[in-house]
Symmetry: C2
Subunit: 151 residues, 2 copies
DNA sequence: TCTTATATTGCAACAAAGTTGCATGATGTG
DNA sequence: CACATCATGCAACTTTGTTGCAATATAAGA
């Protein structure tokens, strides 16, 4: 399993270090994007805050991960699928930000629709974030309602 | 002209104070969203940073202004058009963030398109930001190229 | 394996934005 | 004009992002 991450680092000419492998395995295991503070907590204090910051910055520049800003403007990171590289990210999928658990989901299968922008303006990238309640939180809410009904 | 702002404050049961009127007149005069730091600079040190923060927070809650996060996750604010109120903002227009001048434009005429989200997820709001080069910056770039040709 | 150039990390220090509590002052109502 | 309430200013603090520099780990070549 580690081989996957090692070859990923090699592909981008990055040295294989413990902190980097930790970051990759954490991000890969989750189906939601992760903020730096959360990553810090998960990795523990073996890795310095600044190191983490720089790892994330490097990974983003190399097209290994992409950044999504949450409700508060805090950066969250998720693995780029497939074919992103240093020169162009193709993360043109929609993101869903749950306002209850605050998780950010990459909706990889949902493409950002095209729009017409005013003439004179040139668009390079677009960002589409949907805010609401995720599946897990919806189910929890249902369960809560049901358990109250039973009483 | 001030009457407009005064009645706006009255409508929302907010006291008419100098700092609030300043904020409203600045935001209304601009066709781009404004960050809090910029507002601070424009208003000057008559108004405390925290006061400004609270004014913006109140205005946003009342549906007088809406918040857009820029590239760096910094909050920018723009007047809500027409019919927003305390209970629902209807700011479902696309925003354009210029990567050169960093201005954020409200594209009031361009609605955010609907998308299908996975079943189980419930969306309440959506955010669409287009990043690129705005009209002004495009023209400046053209002029620059032309002036170089002439030499 | 040892050596060396260079990439990476840790620490310290700082900057920017957001946030809270509390005392003081302004506003609007009767 | 008095009073209740809203709004402001100040101080203090948190979180996130960022840079410089010295110490260390990595990879490649001898
Ligand atoms: Zn959720
Ligand atoms: Zn994503
Ligand atoms: Zn511009
Ligand atoms: Zn807008």
């Amino acid at each position: 399993m580690n081989k996957e991450f090692i070859s990923l680092l090699e592909k981008h000419q990055l040295r294989k270090t413990a902190p980097r492998l930790s970051v990759l395995s954490i991000l890969k295991a989750k189906n939601t994007a992760t903020s730096q503070p959360d990553l810090e907590a998960m990795i523990g204090k073996d890795v310095d805050r600044v190191t983490l910051y720089r790892i994330l910055k490097t990974f983003e520049e190399k097209g290994i991960i992409h950044k999504i800003l949450d409700l508060n403007g805090t950066a969250n990171y998720a693995i780029c699928h497939s074919s992103c590289n240093e020169h162009d990210h193709k993360d043109n999928h929609v993101h869903f930000n749950c306002t209850v658990c605050l998780h950010i989901y990459c909706l990889d299968n949902i493409q950002i629709p095209d729009i017409k922008i005013p003439s004179g303006f040139v668009s390079h990238t677009t960002n589409f974030v949907s805010y609401g309640i995720c599946e897990k939180c919806s189910k929890k809410a249902e369960q809560y309602v049901n358990s109250n009904d039973e009483e």
